[in-house]
Structure formats: structure tokens, C-alpha cells
Symmetry: C2
Subunit: 246 residues, 2 copies
Amino acid sequence: MGPRWKGKGFKAKALADPMSKIVLKLQSSLNQSNCEGLLCGSSVLLSVEAEQADLLNRSCFGVAMVTAEKDKQWFELSLEEGFYLSYALRCLRIVEDKCVKSEEQLWECMKSRNALFSYYYKAYCHLRMKNWVVMSGITYGADFVAYRHHPELVHSEYAVIVSSEEGGASNRLRVWSDVHCATRLCGGVAKTLLVLDISRNGHGADSPSCLEMYTIRERTITRWSPEQCREDHTMVESENGAKEEI
Amino acid sequence: MGPRWKGKGFKAKALADPMSKIVLKLQSSLNQSNCEGLLCGSSVLLSVEAEQADLLNRSCFGVAMVTAEKDKQWFELSLEEGFYLSYALRCLRIVEDKCVKSEEQLWECMKSRNALFSYYYKAYCHLRMKNWVVMSGITYGADFVAYRHHPELVHSEYAVIVSSEEGGASNRLRVWSDVHCATRLCGGVAKTLLVLDISRNGHGADSPSCLEMYTIRERTITRWSPEQCREDHTMVESENGAKEEI
């Protein structure tokens, strides 16, 4: 299943304005302004000028907040988004109680707010690095959804579930009924289920540098309909295009 | 969400021919013929005359099998169905290697074929005792589906997930993404998610008599749409009729 563009010419529009370049502009702009994010509960809050607000919107980081302030626009970032801008792109300093967090401190903070942060962040970062737009997948019963470009131009292509065979990691897709549930729902909303199976390879999560030692196995899972292949096997293969079928 | 009858007059038809009476007839007929089921893999196979085949079909036990035999009709029962007819209704003896299994032997066999059998059987038996027709829910990503009467007359009303807080029991609905996945899928196929939360209350599964000590908490879960209650709260309550909302 390929990308479903939302309108005519949107594919060309996306090609002319690649996500990688928008993110580079955001990175450079945040760096120039020495931007700071406030760690607040399970969010990172960010106050920016109009130009940066536009870049955050275009690159799909965070959600614009409604406030009474006229000059500044506030954004609420998820933990993964905040950490990505701070640790991977190095264009955001994150502050709590007026103290800028070091990398190690920030890592501990994130883990304290979500015990599975290292797995979710690895998945988020993995997709963002490949220039996918990654947003919450909760409305589709997934951890993330991945878009080929901005959600205004294209529907999300993948519902992403983060999985790990290591104890204590995500409890999804352990039983068949769950696998059937996820694949059937994905089929109904024209997405492909992408399972990111993360292995820490024996490395813990003591510091963010451990992330480099983690490996990811990517699997797409689609429903298998026996009727499809009764007559013409080759047709089915091209229709599904899945790496693994159940 | 009430029952969705498949045709006009089907509700009256169901009321005139209650499931409890069909099951009683089946029970009496199987008892008279000293019926035996063959334990084979994860199924119980049953060979019956035309009258009993009709009763099995009408009460929705097992699936009729295609064989070359002309006088006899073979049925394939699930482990839960076989054990229910044998242990709860006492109208089926189950045989393996030409030996009739005692209750205790049969219980051990069932557990060896499915480590979670005690939980699934308790759920199956609980619903069947209330005259629900219970069938596999795998196509809806659930453990069972429950029908008010025969599936020819009515759509299934509940997608049933068997759950337990005890270690080693079903691994479903442990994370929010799974809950969202299940409720969203149920909404899409006009079913209500029924979670049967089973507690062994400290009793193990050493013998089938333990089943009586287990308790079941029934919960229906529906999606909560904030828009629904903006103006008229009473309307929403009657529309949903759910015991618990998320």
C-alpha cells in the first residue's frame, strides 16, 4: 500500500519541499535563538517567534497551544520530540526549575516519566532520522503513526507498534487476538502495521549513549486472506507487498 | 447497543425458540445415544446422526466437517465446547486412544493443550450458562464473540476478551494502545467490548472443581467521545449504556 496523497499535486509539492530540509531549517533557527524548552510533567513546553512556529508546524514537532500571549506562540512537545530536538538535533536546551539539564540528567528525567522511554525514543528517532513524520498513534491503537510528509498533504501510511522481546518492554502483540486486532484495525483505516522490534543487545539504559548499541528489526504485518491467492498468486504478491504475512 | 437482528421477525423467531431449550434437547439426545467425542490435537471430533447434527447446528456447538461418510455427520468442537458438553452438561464422553477420559484426566489434557485453558473455559462456561451463543472471536481480534441467539438470526453483540490480573494469564489490555485498538475495532464492527476479568482467588487449577471458586468481573468498555456530551448529557448516557467508559 503506497502513500495516499490528500489532493492533486500534493506529491509534487512534497517532493519540492523535502522534510529533511524543513527540519534542517528548524534546527538552525532554534540554534540561533538559543531556544529553551521547559520540562513540565510529560511534556516539553516551548515559546517561539512566528518564524519558528511556522517551522515547528511544517516539520510537525509538537502541538501549538492556545495562550493569551500575543507575541509568542507556545508549543507542547512530547517527551520523544523534546529529547530528539535536544539530543539528536542538538538545537534545544531543556530546563527544569530554572536549571538546564545535562544530557545524562535529561535522560534520567525522561526514563522517570516513562519506564519504557528508551524503547519508544529509539523507535521515534529511528523513523525521524529517515525523514518520516512521526506522531502519536493512540487514535489507531498504536504507539505512533508515520507520514511520508506533512499530514496536510498525505495520510499516515504506517501504524507503528514498538515491541521488544526483553522483559518489561511493551506488552503488545504477545497473543494472536492482539495481532488480529491490530492488523484488522490497520486494514480498516488503510494503514500498514509496522512493528519495530527493539533489542538492547544486553546494553542497559544507563546513559543515552546506550541508544547506539540498540538494534531495530522492522516488520510489516498484513492480514492474509486465503481467497486472494486461489487463482493468481503473482497478483497477490504485488497487491500486498508485505515483508511478512500472517 | 442492543441486538442487531438480521431480518424482520427474527426477534420473535428467537423468542419462540429459546436457546436454553435447544441446548436441553441436544443434551438429552446426546445422553440417550451415549455419544463419544475423540480428542484429537486441539479439537474434539464427534460423529452423529442427522437429528443430533441438526441440534448441534441449531445450538452452535462445533463446526460440521466435510467427509466421505454418508450416514454420519462429523463435527469438530473446540476444547472449550468439548469440555462444556462433557463436564458441565454431562452428555459427552471424551475418548483418546480408545480410553474414556475421567474428569480429572480430561482436565489435565485440556490444560496441556492450552496453558490458559482454565481461564478461557471459565469465560466460555460463564456465558454459555447464561444462554449466550459463544464462538471464536479471532476475526475480531478477540477471544470469543457472544450472540443473543443463532448467528443466522442476529449479529454478535459482544467481542469478548478474557483477562486476569494473575501472572501468566492473558496478556491483553495491559497498555493503552491495546485498549484503544480493541475498542476502536469493536466500534467499527458494531460490537461492544466485553472484558471478562477472571480471578482464581488463590485457588489453582489442579482439578476442574476449582472452577467453582473462580470469580468473574464483567466490564464493557466503549470509546468515549468528548463531543457527545457537550450539550445534552442524559442523551449520551442512554446512547452508550456502558458500565465503564474510557
